[in-house]
């Protein structure tokens, strides 16, 4: 489902920083993988490259068979919106839109008909148990609830790949466990490939496959 071949990422500023160094990685369809490592190890960079938010300096990335190299920004966006769902540490909900509108957003961008969008958004918010908060603005919700909305938004088109960057990093431990449980449940129900970047050992250990990065290289890749 996700394939990286000799992928490197360098940042050329006043001094060159190698964030990822010749990484090779294969993640199968339906796998749930955690990505760990100290700060600056390159895990967020790797997630951004897989998510098509950034482009590698070298190497090839394939998502569900689609090669991300040499394609236009709009083509990259189409791959992103059809194949990838994002869950961010700081939720990244649009503060002016209600929960329903936030979840509807990717569907509107795809040009779905309004009634179909409303049905799907309601279905997803029920899935994350927020059916009673549909018309609330993000600022009226707790951290856990906001992350649920973000998860519902990420799932809006039931993408084959779900990328989560520290999904519990901004939540208290109880809520964190709850959100992780929800992700796992959705994984089991929907069968999406999930890649979670985390600092949290318990989150990492709850995933069937763990990958560790250090100084831009994969130093551990083990399945439980």
């Amino acid at each position: 489902m996700i394939s990286l071949h000799r992928v490197s990422k360098r940042f050329d500023g006043k001094r060159r920083v190698v964030a990822l160094d010749t990484v090779n990685l294969e993640i199968e369809k339906g796998e749930m993988v955690s990505l760990v490592g100290p700060s600056g190890s390159g895990k967020s960079t790797l997630l951004n490259l897989i998510g098509g938010l950034d482009r590698p300096s070298e190497g090839d990335i394939r998502i569900d068979g689609a090669l991300l190299r040499d394609i236009s920004d709009d083509e990259l966006t189409r791959i992103r919106r059809d194949k990838i769902g994002f869950i961010f540490q700081f939720f990244n909900l649009l503060p002016t839109l209600s929960c329903l509108e936030n979840v509807s957003l990717p569907l509107h961008l795809r040009g779905w008909p309004a009634t179909k969008i409303a049905d799907r958004a309601r279905e997803l918010l029920s899935l994350v148990k927020l059916e009673k908060r549909m018309d609330h603005l993000p600022e009226e919700l707790s951290g856990g609830e906001r992350q649920r909305v973000a998860i519902a938004r990420a799932l809006s088109v039931f993408p084959p790949v779900l990328l989560a960057d520290e999904p519990t990093g901004n939540l208290d431990s109880h809520t964190g466990v709850e959100i992780l449980g929800l992700i796992r449940e959705l994984h089991e129900r929907l069968g999406a490939t999930i890649l979670i970047v985390t600092h949290d050992r318990s989150v990492a250990e709850s995933c069937p496959r763990q990958i560790a990065l250090r100084d831009g290289r994969i130093v551990m890749d083990q399945r439980q």
Binding site: N48, L53, D54, T77, R81, L94, L97, E101, P106
Partner: protein, 850 residues
């Protein structure tokens, strides 16, 4: 200063584009101020230089308006004991029949006495000609030209040169070339000297002079001599030092000066909003930075000063750039201004060089800095009031609280009460202008509230049109009322200016067209000048009478108009055969009985005055009006006030018989000809030309020609004022660009999220475009309402202080409709750059942006 370098400089470097856009308002405002005033000053200075250079050793000049005076006045003046020398002068700007030059100033003098006032230093020529002035005089085609003029036109002694004369083009012989000196540089070197008695014939002056130049005898006090001559000649004459002519010229151009001030002040005022907006946003964006600096020990005063210093630096740089730009455009403006003044007021003047007054430049710099500092004052105070604890906490900061909005609304309501009070007591000038100022302030205070209401009102529409882009664009406006209201205010002010000027223009055109229908209904206008406002040449009465006897003419009217001094200001006197005026040519009466006023005026029992004259000089109906004539003061009642647009400085209408009697002037500027039904304009033109061929210079204007000419002049006048519109709209566009630039910075993360969840580049662009269009539409809506009020005040200002013209209030609906595509188009244009900026940035950085 160290804080400025450490903190502000880094911020400016990071936001260079925004800094430049913020300064643009100041640059434009100062450029317009410097450009227009420098041009005005250059033209005035050229006029003064010409007067000064021509004056030579002249200490006093005697004139009697444009009517001139009889030769016997010279003898009376020369007989006054304190007068050392007094010489007659005729001065005229005439067309040259040379391709390289357009016109020349002819100074006609009496060579026998004039050389004791002016030095005609000849560089070459037949000395015998000028050494003995009698020889020069004896050859009436003699002309002396300047070295510069001769060189430019390859003229040498005995070269022939053709000038316009009363009898048509006439050939003169160059009999002397003057060496370069002060005198020869007058009127840009386009100067010719002619004998005065020849000039009387050439320019149709009869036995009259335009002016007497004199110098006092040694030991005689000039002010005392001035007083003595004034008493001797009476109030119908002006006895002034040469410098007074500059003041009269300045008085004629005062409307232009006022226009220059209004334009630049408006541009600066709008620029002020852009600066205020930028600083308000900068303070919000730099809250955490301010919090850190405060936590590290900076005092509130230091923070406030930091922002004020920033604004002062910005103002100084912007004003300097504006100053240079202004000086750059001044030359172009001064050329067109010189031509324009010639067309409107009949006073030809060309600026030789751009002369800038250091005080003006210093004032412009100061204006830029002060504007910038005033605009940044409130944001700077807000920055000083930032609480370090709150500022260091992450979270969204609502920039304009509901409470703040309520206070603004309350202040605005209070101000509106005062405005209504001002309207009731608006006879007082200060109260009227205070009312206008307070209306603007109250309106601006309401802009955030109204903009918020309108943003909420258009959200459903925008959402319906584009569910994602529309809703996000509207939300962006709703969430940041301060950011929105700055741009909206700037735009609304510009629109209000456009509407008020457009309304003024519409009202002026309507009124002028109506006036032309009534006042300019003859079939043919016959004049001795090719420009109807030029009064250098006049028909002798005999010629006018000869024309009136031609077959095919129903009846004629002779008109003599001349600019004369009234209360120290030049006013247009229009003398015509009032008894000959048909009722359909009677100007609409503003006050007085329309039938009897014309009858009585025809009998010489009083004056009719234009409504703008009544307004400017506060003259009332039936009041006794005293005007000074060469034969003494003339006091007659005002028989009626009529709506007349003959002149911006006001006009006095009187019967020609009164004019002839008191001014001793029976010449005619225009013969108005009404044809019999069976005679065509073409036939009459041929008859006139046949009868007068070789006798006089003449120009035949048909009714359509003249109306087209007046519309052309009106177009030129409003063409000049449309510079204001261009500046205002440009500044407003800059405001929108600035706001959008800030908006996309503010919403960088939001736009990043949008792209991360699948928005294509065009969809992101669409959001920015829609936001811009929404700002445009909201600004337009508010501006159209503000414009209706501004139009009322502009019409009042025009009536009170600019031209005294009372025009009907007509809202320019067509213009308002035309503004919709212009403003939305301009807003879209303004959004192009920021929209590209929004889609070009890195997504990862955008998502991490705090």
């Amino acid at each position: 200063m160290r804080l400025l370098r450490l903190i502000s400089w880094q911020y400016v470097r990071k936001h260079l584009l925004r800094t430049v856009l913020t300064m643009a308002g100041i640059v434009l405002g100062v450029a317009v101020f410097v450009g227009m005033h420098t041009a005005n000053q250059s033209v005035l200075s050229a006029f003064n230089k010409t007067v000064d250079r021509i004056a030579g050793a002249t200490q006093l000049q005697i004139t009697a308006g444009e009517s001139g005076f009889d030769e016997e006045v010279l003898e009376r003046v020369q007989a006054v004991p304190g007068v050392r020398v007094a010489v007659p002068v005729i001065e005229a700007v005439v067309n040259l029949h040379l391709q390289s030059q357009s016109n020349i100033l002819v100074l006609a003098v009496d060579m026998t006495g004039d050389r004791s006032l002016r030095d005609y230093d000849l560089e070459e020529g037949e000395d015998t000609v000028v050494e003995d002035p009698l020889v020069f005089i004896s050859q009436p085609d003699s002309l002396m030209v300047t070295h510069e003029f001769a060189a430019a036109n390859r003229l040498v002694i005995n070269s022939k040169i053709t000038l316009d004369s009363m009898d048509g083009p006439r050939t003169f012989t160059v009999r002397g070339v003057m060496k370069s000196s002060g005198l020869t540089s007058a009127f840009g070197g386009n100067l010719a000297i002619m004998d005065i008695y020849a000039a009387q014939k050439v320019f149709g002056r009869g036995r009259k002079f335009d002016r007497i130049d004199l110098a006092a005898a040694e030991g005689t006090s000039v002010p005392a001599l001035q007083q003595q001559l004034q008493t001797l000649l009476g109030a119908g004459f002006e006895v002034e030092p040469p410098s007074a002519r500059g003041k009269q010229f300045e008085s004629l151009t005062s409307v232009y000066g006022m226009l220059a001030n209004i334009t630049s002040l408006f541009a600066l005022f709008i620029g002020m909003f852009i600066i205020y907006n930028s600083f308000a946003i900068a303070v919000t964006q730099r809250r955490s930075e301010i919090g850190i600096v405060r936590a590290l020990g900076a005092t509130r005063r230091q923070i406030q000063n930091l922002f004020l210093m920033e604004s002062a630096m910005l103002g100084l740089i912007g004003a300097t750039a504006g100053l240079l730009l202004g000086l750059g455009i001044a030359r172009g403006i001064s050329t067109s201004l010189g031509n324009f003044l010639g067309e409107i007021y009949g006073v030809a003047q060309k600026a030789e060089e751009v002369s800038s007054d250091p005080r003006l430049l210093l004032g412009a710099l100061l204006m830029g800095v002060v504007t910038s500092v005033i605009a940044a004052w409130i944001p700077a105070r807000a920055a000083a009031g930032v609480d370090p604890v709150q500022a260091l906490q992450k979270g969204r900061y609502q920039q304009l609280s509901e409470g703040e909005n309520r206070i603004r609304r309350q202040i605005a309501a209070g101000l509106f009460v005062v405005v209504v009070f001002c309207l009731f007591f608006s006879q007082n000038r200060a109260v009227f202008y205070s009312g206008y100022f307070l209306t603007v302030i109250a309106g601006l205070l309401l802009v955030p509230t109204i903009a918020l209401w309108l943003s909420k009102a258009i959200r459903p529409v925008m959402r319906y049109l584009r569910p994602v882009e529309g809703a996000l664009a509207a939300d962006s406006l709703i969430q940041s009322p301060r950011r929105t209201s700055g741009a909206v205010s700037a735009l609304a002010l510009s629109i209000a200016l456009v509407i008020s000027l457009g309304g003024m223009a519409r009202a002026s055109y309507d009124s002028i067209e109506e006036w032309m229908r009534i006042a300019l209904n003859p079939d043919i206008f016959l004049t001795p000048t090719q420009n109807i406002t030029d009064r250098s040449f006049r028909f002798p009465a005999s010629i006018a009478e000869e024309v009136s006897k031609l077959p095919g003419i129903h009846y004629t009217q002779f008109v003599r108009n001349a600019r004369m001094m009234y209360e120290g200001n030049p006013v247009m006197f229009v003398a015509l055969d009032i008894g000959n005026l048909r009722p359909e040519s009677h100007l609409p009466a503003v006050e007085g009985d329309a039938t009897s006023m014309y009858k009585q005026a025809a009998e010489g029992k009083g004056f009719l005055i234009s409504d703008n004259f009544a307004e400017l000089y506060k003259v009332k109906y039936r009041q006794k009006l005293t005007v000074n004539t060469p034969t003494g003061p003339l006091s007659l009642p005002v028989l009626g006030i009529v709506r007349d647009y003959s002149d911006q400085k006001g006009s006095i209408l009187l019967d020609r018989s009164v004019f002839i009697r008191h001014w001793r002037d029976d010449t005619v500027n225009v013969v108005r000809i009404y044809l019999n039904k069976d005679t065509t304009v073409t036939q009459m033109r041929a008859r006139i030309e046949e009868r007068l061929a070789g006798k006089t210079r003449l120009f035949v204007f048909t009714n359509q020609d003249l109306k087209a000419y007046i519309i052309k002049i009106t177009d030129q006048w409003f063409g000049l004022t449309y510079i204001q519109l261009a500046v205002a709209v440009l500044v407003a566009i800059l405001g929108i660009i600035n706001t959008l630039t800030v908006s996309i910075t503010d919403r960088r993360r939001e736009l990043g999220v949008l792209q991360a969840v699948g928005a294509l580049r065009n969809q992101v662009r669409g959001t920015i475009w829609l936001e811009a269009v929404a700002i445009g539409v909201i600004g337009l809506a508010i501006g159209l309402v503000f414009g209706s009020v501004a139009l009322y005040y502009s019409l009042e200002m025009s009536a009170r202080d600019i031209a005294g013209l009372r025009l009907d209030y007509t809202y320019p609906w067509n213009m308002a409709a035309g503004l919709f595509p212009i403003i939305t188009g301009a807003a879209l244009f303004a959004a192009l750059g920021p929209a590209e900026q929004a889609v070009r940035g890195g997504l990862v950085e955008a998502l991490e942006y705090e």
